[in-house]
Structure formats: C-alpha cells, structure tokens
Assembly symmetry: C2
Homo-oligomer: 358 residues x 2
Amino acid sequence: MPKLVHPNTTVSTSRFLEALQGINHTGRPPIWMMRQAGRYLPEYRAIRDEAARHHNGFLTMIQTPELATEVTLQPIRRFGMDAAILFSDILVTASALGCPVRFVEKKGPVFDTPIRSPEALAALRPASDAVPHLQYVMDAIRMLKGVLDVPLIGFAGAPFTVASYMIEGGSSPTLSHIKRMQYNQPDVLHGLLSQLTDVTIAYLKQQVDAGVDALQLFDTWTNHLSVYDAQQLCFPYIQQIITAMNAYTSIPIIVFCKNTGVLWPDLVATGPTAISIDWGCDAVHMRACIPDTLALQGNVDPFLLYADPETIEKRVTRLLNDLGHLPNYIVNLGHGIMPDIPVAHVQTLVNTVKAWGS
Amino acid sequence: MPKLVHPNTTVSTSRFLEALQGINHTGRPPIWMMRQAGRYLPEYRAIRDEAARHHNGFLTMIQTPELATEVTLQPIRRFGMDAAILFSDILVTASALGCPVRFVEKKGPVFDTPIRSPEALAALRPASDAVPHLQYVMDAIRMLKGVLDVPLIGFAGAPFTVASYMIEGGSSPTLSHIKRMQYNQPDVLHGLLSQLTDVTIAYLKQQVDAGVDALQLFDTWTNHLSVYDAQQLCFPYIQQIITAMNAYTSIPIIVFCKNTGVLWPDLVATGPTAISIDWGCDAVHMRACIPDTLALQGNVDPFLLYADPETIEKRVTRLLNDLGHLPNYIVNLGHGIMPDIPVAHVQTLVNTVKAWGS
C-alpha cells in the first residue's frame, strides 16, 4: 500500500530540516500541519471506517504499522507536505505504563482508571519495562523510512499534558484534578511526572534509533497554568527530556505548547531546536523575541481554514511576506487541524506557501 | 433581609475606588473576587435551592431584586470584600434582545434558538427597545445602594463574548460557529456585534443612572482568537462602549479579557480605567508593561484556592510584596472562583490581604 511519493527530492536536502538548522535558502519556508494525518481527509476516514469494525478502531490504526504508515503518507501524497509526522497519539506512553486509554467517538480519550493515589502510581510499570510495549511505533517508523522521501517527525506528549489526561480521566475544561493534586498529593503528581519523563526519554531514543529525522514534544495544556505553576509542573520535565535527547542525538527537537506568547522565555531555556507557537500570539513579535538560534514554527490560526480560499490566500501571504524569507521559519498551524475543515482549503494553504516567492 | 454591613466605612473613602484612580494610600490593596457571589458559599446555595423550586431557578435569582440583592451582599457580609459586584449574568443583554437563555445545571447557559442567519438577527429587538426588559437589574442596583457601604460594581458582557454564546447556542470548547460566521456571514456577525454594542451602552448607562460606582466589561473568550481576529471582533466594539461611557460618566471602567499577556496593548488602546488580567500572565511583568495611568486588577490563580491555607498565604503574600504597595493595584482572581472551593480558603486569601502591611 505505501509507495514512494516524490522521487526527485531527498531527505538530505529537505527545506524542513534546513529551516530547523537555520539554513533554509530554498526560496520559501517549509510547511506541514499538526494533525495533518487526520479526519478532515476522506482517505483517512475510509481507513478509519474500515478499522472501526475492530473493537477500538483508533487504537487499531495506531497499533497496526501498515495502517499507521498509510495514514502518515496520505497528506504527503495529497499535498506534498515538506515533512511527515508519524500517525500516533500522545497518550501511548500512558498506555505503555499500564494505564490503558480508550478513544470514544466525539468524546476523545478516556482513562477508566485515572491515577489519583499513591497506589495507582505504584501499580504502573517501571519506565524501563514500558517501552517494549511501544514496539508497534518503531515498526511503523521503520516501514515509513523505507518509503518516505520527506523527513519523518517522531513525537511524544510532554509529561504534564499526558499526566493531565491520566489524572483527569480524559479531556477536562479546567484540569481541576491535577491542579488539586499538586497541593494535596504533590508526591504522587511529581512521581507521575518523573515516571512519564523517564518513559518519554526512552521512547524518543527508540524513535531516533528507528530512524526519525526530527522530534516534537507536545505540552498542549500549559495554557491552563499560571506561569509559576508551569515553571513547577512543565518546564523542568521538558528540560530533562531535551537535555537527555541532546546528549543522545543531534537530531532537532521542536517544542509545542500553548500560551507561547507568555511562556516563550521558559521554553527557550529548556534548550530545544525550535519553538512551535500557538495562534494566540503574533508570529512577527514572537520571531523578534525568540533568539535567532532557535527556529520558529507556526502559527496559522487553525480556524482561518474555515474561510474562503481568497481570504486564506490573503492572510497566509501576509504571514509569508513577514516571515517567509527567514532561513529558520516553518509554516504550520497554531494547533491541530479541525476535523471539519474542507480539504480544498488546506490545498489553498499549501498552494499559497509553495507559490510564494517563486 | 439586606442589612448594613460596615457602618464605619463609606463609599467615598473606598480603597477600591481610590486604587482605580491611582491614589490608594491606605496601606494595602483592595480585594474583591470575580463571581464572589456564587455557589462556593453555603448561604448562596441555600437561596439557590429555594429558587430551584421555580421553573428556572438561576434566572429567578437574577430577576428578583430582593434575591439578587441578598446574594450580592453575602460575600460582603462574610468576608468584608472591598467592593460588591451586582449578582447577575453577562447574558441578560442577549435575553433583552429577545434571544432567551436558559441555565441548565452542570451544563451552563443554553440558547434554544441560536443566531445563525440574517433572519434570526433581524428578528431581534432593536437595542433601544431591549433595555426596558432589564428593569429588574436597575431595581436591584437601587435596592443595593440603599444598604451597601462598599462600592457597587455594575457590569456587562462585551459583545464578542455574548455573541459567542448566542451563536454557538451555549458554551463551546472551540467557538467554531462564530469563527465560521466571520467568514461565511460577516454581515450577520458584525450586525449582531453592533446591536450588542448598542444595547450594552444603553444598559451600562442605566446602571450608572441607577447608582453603580464602577463598571466592568467581561470579554472572557478573547483567548480563543488570534490577535488579528481579536482586533476585528473584540476591540473595536469594546472601544465604542468605553468611548460612549466616558462621554456619559466619569465613573471608572475595568476591562477583563483572557490572553491578557498578549492582548494588553490592544486593551490599553480601548481607553479603560483599569485592566483585569487573567492568571496565565505574570502580574509583575504586566504592571511593568501597562502604563501607570491605568490601574491593574488580578491575577491570583483561581485554582490556588484548592491549596492548603499555608500555601495560599505564602503565594498571596509574595504577590502583595511585589504589588501591594502600589496606589493602583486591586487584588482579584484571574477568572471567576470555582464552585467547589472551600470557603475557608477564600477566608485565608482575604485575611492575608487584610493583614498585609499592617
């Protein structure tokens, strides 16, 4: 099923990897989209509908390397994105620790046994025993590396965001359980964050060994926290992960979090290669703030893709005129794409980027 | 039922009003809390349980001046807050326009006929005909002014946030209907925002006539928007309201919105007396950014009130040591208080502020 897409480009000359190094002089910035392999694509929905005949369709897609590979390739085939991101989920590390997640249509992830006690924490697998349970990810990476001709991005959820799902039991508008736990059971919370840090490091190392070309860490829910709390619960663990990975490999690491317009100095201090910014801050202002030694990724409003093609082209062209000439800028959304975005609007976004400057 | 609380202070010497003018030299900053009249108080729940015997208990509380007055007074009586805020809801302006809202326990506001077409917009009452439907608010204000000895804050929802509920049909994690409407039916959206602006101005003027001592505008959901979209959908309407109110009265106007850490320059430009900041930004940094001619209100993390009293005292004291000496600072939360916060923890917050510097 997987097949070669663009036989004329090679990973070694990728403008995506060059932008991460700050040396993209190809005339336009690279583009990829968070959640680009997803429900807005009819070819994705076809695979998903097939997988839905299994007990847990979404997990089946993630855990079957052939399906994960196919779904990862779909946006590359259709749009010629400049990078592929492994089709998986940030919560696989929680599952690997022995805290199983289910994905419920229209509701999202559900943990039937949330982690809210020392006993629940103690019952988790040690991090060292967890990663073998993620072998299917490595199989998908190796399969993808055999057929892809654009860089492959591996990823993991950052400890705070993964812990928030494990503790809340799923999505939550306020994260009030984890916020209570930091006061009522700080040892449990920091124990879980440490264990997630360990498993994330081991997991990302295996992804590197399997062949990914870049990594992205997702700490999506930092926007729920005060700056002080983010400094206690998020950044020390992100920094541990980045420090460990930088000691292990030279491949670039992108960090994504929300409330980037406020939290960027703390993010910079964690030592990543690039910062992926949300859509609530101004990209030009952020580029002026964040040191030039770090690449910048983002921050197209994901809801701009609801607009008519003319508006999309106009707004994206303005962004490109501002930042497109930089050697260290990557076009992306400020959050994952919504499932009800018309495919033609994504095509307009990609066409606008590819036509710019030529 | 309502009775005088602190016969020894008068509104004219209120540290709250002095802080808004930048002349508070009373030795400590004033304190009040967004949603201070609310479900975390047992005496509030007693009134609510009584009102629940009516068809729509929450609306009954809002629309019955005696009940609204009693509930407004409860946190003043219990904690001696430095200001009272009228017990009401930001969505009463929507109801007054003829778009009725219901409040459903554990779900929040529901609009059974959301505004999503030119016809739905056209069917609304003209703004000039709407305000008489809010007479019960003026009655509550007059009743409160007869018994209160701290300043009374009137308020309204800003047009974007009120419109978001009217268009989404209630609370929404993404506001995707209103975001689509700005592209698909911009005339309907801006028509609604204009009509809300008009009714808000008329409503706030009547609140001033009825005797409120200060006003607060709530544009809670600005954090869902890109800076560009907030500049299209929020700030022009806020500015219209503030300009109209400043031409009508000299009483101070506080503006609250989310993503303050990014949006503060646009907020400053709308011309308010004070900016109430969310809890996702650093208050000391914000005070350094926002011109001294504007007072600053906020930004205690509402979830800090889950902590033990010692932690609350320690963190609030740090904030006070940083900003408490300023003549233009007001202690408040960065968002409304959560309904499951222990009353004793609020008492700790208030005690810490009142004991500081003495």
